[in-house]
């Protein structure tokens, strides 16, 4: 057999001489030492060896695929024992099997490389499909999954980023104008408030608020606005709604909204706005503004009770799944005038109501959608209005996977809107008016990917896979530097990448509150209250928020002089805006009063040098904070140090957020930290936080300091019903002065938002109150793709280097392995039998 093999081999003239020689040597070696089981290997090109095998017909050659780099290393193992009893067919099959394995491995490797490369030269680390390159898509990230997308419930900032693009309330804020200005969205024009007295007599615009019994807002919407395509509107040939009587069988292959094959749409009507206002009172929906709105919208509270009764009756009659048709229950304060007009009746005068009309709470909901989603079986599949919104806005939600990605696509039925032609003088210079008058939206698709951790988010932004990013404290120094004038700008590395920084003071305030019900910081008797006021003022001077902003917020904040942040009417800049009890105006800027002023106030309060004048005991105050990690220890130590300036001992009481809220609600906290984001750009939205009737204890309001000052309360009641005017500003000034004097808050600071944008991201103007901004944005997808390729060229040397190191480290191991395998059982240098036993069990 062996000779035949050799003869055949010799006859195969087409084989290279080297191959024939080596194969021949192998066969000869076998002849000399037929019992040898020592394998030996040959490194040959795979094709050459295969050819050798087929031509030689040598059934003893068993080869197998070994570790491989791009070449293949093959071993020839002619163990007599392993092959002598094997039939030629077995060996041939084995060879086939090995060939299959080899081919499979090769395929897998090729597939892996193809997958990683994206098959078309896409960057290896590109998380998006290659087919999306250069498409007009905006890429963003979100950390927290939205809980509610139903506009009646949604109130969080991460939710409104989606709902504001889909739903169209009647009004919106002008994108470029400041101060924030309301303009029509779906409404044809801004509604004008109509005032009426108790006898339903129309009053003039400037009528005294006390005379006004109710206000009517009549809102006309633009005709021709259409909803996005949606299964709820789909109709059959007879004109009946196709998916409004779904059976379990119909739902058997439905897992998401897009599984419904047919969609339809219809025109937006005034009824849809009325329907949504009714939904604010729906007993199964928990609208966060129901409490507030039921105080204003005529009949809304009673309507809620009517619906509650109806639900109970339905539950008894038809079970818990019965549909509550709101169209069957009229709401007194809201009515449809005609197809495109509706009226809302408000108790008394409430000018801030106009701002609410710019929020998704007042966006239209078609009854078809409400009816469609209420069908049994859909909620179990998470097909709800809370999950799949239906709107008329520029975008529609086409993929809702809040665990992975939310995708918005252009609404094909959007009525169209032109980019604003007016703005602030600086907008022209910033290139924000280049697109004036052009139809929006500019972006076709928005892909928002869930990235919970800041590190991957930040790195993907730097790689160009997200178009914009916030700046975490970890990456602040990498991204931002301060100029000689103290102005924040991007670092050189960011500049090289074309990244730009946009900053804006947020319409919010972070403050430290004093619980006015506490005997030490609030006082009980008149004398005690006066002493406590001085104590609060002293602390206000001592706690240096300029230092806090610099150390702990990387300079991202503006020290507050009162509750109203910049950009809101009532806020004043410059010397007239400073808090004269805490600051002096020196050399054109506010300068915190010296600590001796605080010590003097403290002594007047009855605590000279931080000691109680009566008892001689040191003054100890308690600071309630939510549970914090080690990272916050430094800020709490800093806070202790600030109180230490007055020789006051500050005890930090850390607890979880639930307990913290409980303490605030029950009035058990002494000093605490909190904040407020504006709902709308009106000073009322901040001043109400210190309105007596709104106090937490007893009233469950938003006044966490439980501050109540009769004059302030009376001024608030007067101010809240007024339109913006000089007279109103005067009242606001007076109110702010009362607050500064009483110091129920340590005013803290107004945070400053810093955001980074890539060079291809255009038309960006920071706007904290308006959230429907995506329609204004523009993306240069070509530039983005070019930069992504530049920044993300794969670095291959680590793979090659790693393989070389692996191979090199395997060589000595293989040498030892072969030595042992070839070696005899007992050798001179090998341990003796007795040693071999002990060699085993040692860990």
């Amino acid at each position: 057999m062996k000779l035949q093999c050799r003869e055949r081999l010799n006859r195969s003239r087409s084989l290279p001489a080297g191959v024939r020689r080596r194969l021949g040597a192998m066969v000869l070696r076998e002849r000399r030492d037929p019992d040898s089981s020592i394998p030996f290997a040959m490194s040959l090109q795979r094709q050459v060896l295969s050819k050798a095998v087929s031509q030689a017909g040598c059934d003893k050659i068993v080869y197998l695929l070994r570790h491989t780099d791009w070449g293949l290393r093959l071993s020839v193992c002619p163990s007599r024992a392993s092959v002598k009893n094997r039939s030629p067919s077995y060996l041939a099959n084995n060879a086939c099997a090995r060939g299959f394995i080899r081919r499979s491995l090769k395929f897998l490797l090729a597939s892996l490389v193809a997958l990683i490369c994206g098959c078309s030269g896409n960057s290896w680390n590109n998380p998006y499909p290659a087919s999306d390159a250069e498409k007009n898509i905006l890429y963003s990230a979100f950390a927290e999954r939205p809980k509610h997308l139903d506009p009646v419930q949604s109130y969080s900032s991460n939710e409104i980023l989606l709902t504001a693009q889909i739903y169209e309330p009647p009004l919106q804020y002008h994108y470029l104008k400041r101060p924030y200005t309301l303009i029509p969205s779906a409404a044809a024009k801004l509604p004008v408030a109509q005032y009426f007295d108790k006898k339903e007599m129309r009053l003039h615009e400037g009528a005294d608020a006390a005379q006004i019994a109710y206000t009517i807002y009549e809102i006309s919407i633009k005709p021709g606005i259409r909803y996005q395509p949606h299964a709820a509107f789909a109709r059959n040939e007879q004109g009946d709604l196709l998916y409004h009587d779904l059976t379990p069988k119909d739902l058997s292959d439905i897992y998401k909204l897009s599984d419904f094959r047919h969609t339809g749409f219809r025109e937006l009507t005034a009824d849809d706005y009325v329907f949504q206002i009714k939904r604010l009172a729906h007993p199964k929906l928990h609208s966060p503004i129901f409490g507030l709105m039921s105080d204003y919208i005529v009949g809304l509270k009673e309507y809620s009770m009517t619906l509650q009764t109806a639900v109970v009756a339905q539950f008894k009659g038809q079970g818990g799944d019965a549909y509550l048709d709101l169209n069957s229950y009229p709401l007194e304060g809201v009515e449809t005038v005609d197809r495109y007009t509706y009226r809302i009746k408000i108790k008394g005068k409430y000018p801030q109501f106009m701002y609410w009309l710019a929020m998704p709470f007042f966006a239209p909901i078609p009854w078809e959608a409400d009816r469609f989603y209420s069908q049994k079986g859909l909620a179990e599949k998470n097909i709800t209005l809370d999950w799949y919104p239906v709107g008329t806005g520029p975008y529609m939600l086409t993929e809702n996977d809040p665990n992975r990605a939310m995708i918005l696509e252009k609404n094909p039925n959007f009525h169209g809107e032109a980019y604003p032609s007016e703005g602030m003088p600086e907008d022209l210079q910033a290139g924000l008016l280049v697109d004036a008058g052009k139809p929006m939206p500019f972006i076709d698709k928005v892909i928002s990917t869930r990235d919970k951790e800041s590190i991957p988010r930040w790195n993907k932004f730097l790689q160009g896979y997200y178009d914009a990013s916030g700046i975490g404290s970890d990456s602040f120094d990498q991204a931002v530097q301060l100029t000689g004038q103290g102005e924040a700008t991007v670092t050189e590395a960011m500049k090289e990448q074309g990244i730009r920084l946009e900053t804006a003071v947020a319409t919010s305030t972070n403050y430290m509150g004093f619980n006015m019900l506490d005997p030490v910081v609030g006082g009980v008797s008149k004398r005690e209250r006066e002493a406590a006021r001085k104590l609060r003022q002293a602390i206000s001077i001592a706690v240096d928020y300029e230092e806090y902003i610099s150390i702990f917020a990387n300079g991202r904040g503006v020290p507050a002089h009162g509750p109203i942040p910049p950009g809101i009417a009532g806020h004043r800049d410059g010397e007239e805006g400073i808090n004269p009890l805490i600051y002096d105006w020196v050399n054109g800027r506010a300068q915190r009063k010296p600590i001796k002023a605080a010590r003097a106030l403290l002594a007047e309060a009855g605590y000279p040098n931080g000691m109680d004048a009566k008892t001689g005991a040191p003054l100890v105050l308690y600071f309630d904070v939510t549970a914090r990690g080690v990272d916050d220890k430094s800020s709490l130590d800093w806070m202790r140090k600030q109180f230490q300036k007055l020789n006051i001992q500050l005890v930090v009481r850390s607890t979880d957020y639930n307990r913290f809220q409980d303490k605030i609600r029950k009035g058990n906290a002494q000093i605490f930290e909190w904040g407020w984001n504006a709902d709308y750009p009106d000073p009322e939205n901040f001043l109400f936080l210190l309105h007596g009737p709104q106090q937490k204890v007893g009233n469950e309001g938003e006044n966490a300091a439980n501050y109540s000052e009769p004059e302030y309360n009376q001024l608030f009641d007067q101010m809240k019903n007024m339109e913006n005017s000089a007279e109103r500003n005067k009242i606001i000034d007076r109110m702010v002065n009362i607050l500064r004097h009483d110091a129920p808050w340590l005013w803290g600071y107004h945070p400053k938002d810093y955001a980074l944008y890539h060079a291809w991201y255009g038309n960006v103007k920071a706007n904290r109150l308006s959230h429907n901004n995506i329609k204004y944005f523009r993306i240069d997808a070509g530039l983005r793709e070019q930069k992504r390729r530049e920044w993300n060229e794969p670095v291959l040397w680590p793979i090659v280097g790693g393989l070389i190191v692996l191979v090199m480290s395997l060589v000595p191991a293989l040498v030892v392995y072969r030595g042992r395998e070839r070696g005899t059982g007992i050798r001179g240098k090998e341990p003796k039998l007795a040693d071999q036993g002990s060699r085993g069990g040692i860990a």
Partner: protein, 325 residues
């Protein structure tokens, strides 16, 4: 064997009740139903009426464990604990506090969790065993010594470091794979490479040492000496005889975790943006969603019990001397 399995299933019931009780107690020590309502309804403008209504709708308006307004069995059954726990045993997990169906979420999130956990488990098991056997083969040489040193070093590094370091090196510096994300179908492969490599490497130190110890113990046994005396090559001794005889301790550690693979990894899923069950559980804990936390703990303990049962059964497959009676 059937009797044994039935007995074990019956044992599982009191264990699951106990786990439920402990989860319930621990959760409600930290959170009250009011806290849960506030967390779901938001921070701003939450009225006491809205909280009351939210609790009523979800059955959190009842006493926690004992209802003294009722009589007889109702004192125990008309409580939050009973009502929330009883449905669990029928695998009716109910709805999350945000209204979404938990069973649906579990079903959809199980696949991404498995997409990472399964390759990490299988690849890891193979790699660890091979490396451990190599170290045993080269025992008492520099390969073994430096192998152990490397294992100890690998064990000493935090799992988070592997993730951040891996993302920094492989994705950020070398641009070889995406830093984070997840895709469906074949597109998922490029997202899984990094988490799988990191998963295998981060577990290598402890596992290789563990398997090495097991194999070394086997190496001292008589059958190994007999195999050598027969003239078998060392590779055959190790991979055929030692590996087969070391299967019991290997199975003890490996089979028990197989069902738990469905639950995914808390940290890795968060860092790599994998929408799996680990990430779901963390989100639920952060948002104080008791319904989800309870369902996940129940599922975890159930799968652990299943894992233990499978381990026992697998013993009989690898060792014919073992009978389950």
């Amino acid at each position: 064997m059937l009797n044994y399995i039935v007995r074990r299933v019956l044992y599982a019931i009191p264990i699951l009740i106990g786990v439920n009780l402990i989860t319930f107690t621990l959760f409600f020590v930290v959170n009250s139903p009011d806290d849960m309502a506030r967390m779901q309804l938001g921070i701003k403008r939450v009225t006491p009426e809205a909280i009351t209504k939210w609790k009523q709708e979800r059955g959190y308006d009842k006493p926690l464990m004992f209802n003294d307004t009722e009589e007889g069995y109702a004192q125990f059954t008309h409580t939050i604990f009973f009502e929330k726990s009883a449905a669990m045993f029928a695998f009716r997990f109910g709805r999350a506090d945000d209204g979404r169906d938990i069973a649906h979420e579990i079903k959809t999130r199980m696949v991404p969790s498995l997409a990472i956990a399964l390759p990490v488990f299988l690849l890891g098991l193979g790699v660890y065993i091979v490396f451990a056997l190599i170290m045993v083969f080269f025992r008492a040489t520099y390969v073994d010594f430096w192998g152990v040193v490397l294992c100890v070093a690998l064990m000493s590094i935090s799992g988070l470091f592997y993730i951040i370091g891996g993302q920094f090196l492989i994705s950020k510096l070398w641009h070889l794979v995406p830093i984070s994300g997840y895709g469906s179908g074949p597109d998922a492969a490029k997202f899984l490479v990094l988490p799988v490599i990191i998963g295998v490497v981060s577990g290598a130190g402890a596992s290789i040492r563990w398997y090495r110890t097991i194999f070394l113990e086997e190496m001292g046994k008589d059958y190994v000496r007999t195999a050598r005396a027969k003239g078998l090559p060392e590779s055959i001794v190790l991979f055929r005889h030692v590996l087969r005889n070391a299967m019991i301790p290997i199975l003890t550690g490996a089979v028990v975790v197989i069902p738990l693979l469905f639950l995914g990894s808390f940290i890795a899923e968060s860092f790599f943006g994998i929408p799996g069950l680990g990430s779901y559980t963390i989100d639920a804990i952060n948002s104080q969603d008791f319904a989800v936390v309870r369902a996940m703990v129940f599922l975890g303990s159930l799968l652990y019990i299943v894992g233990l049962l499978l381990t026992d059964i697998s013993y009989t497959l690898v060792d014919p001397r073992i009978r389950l009676e």
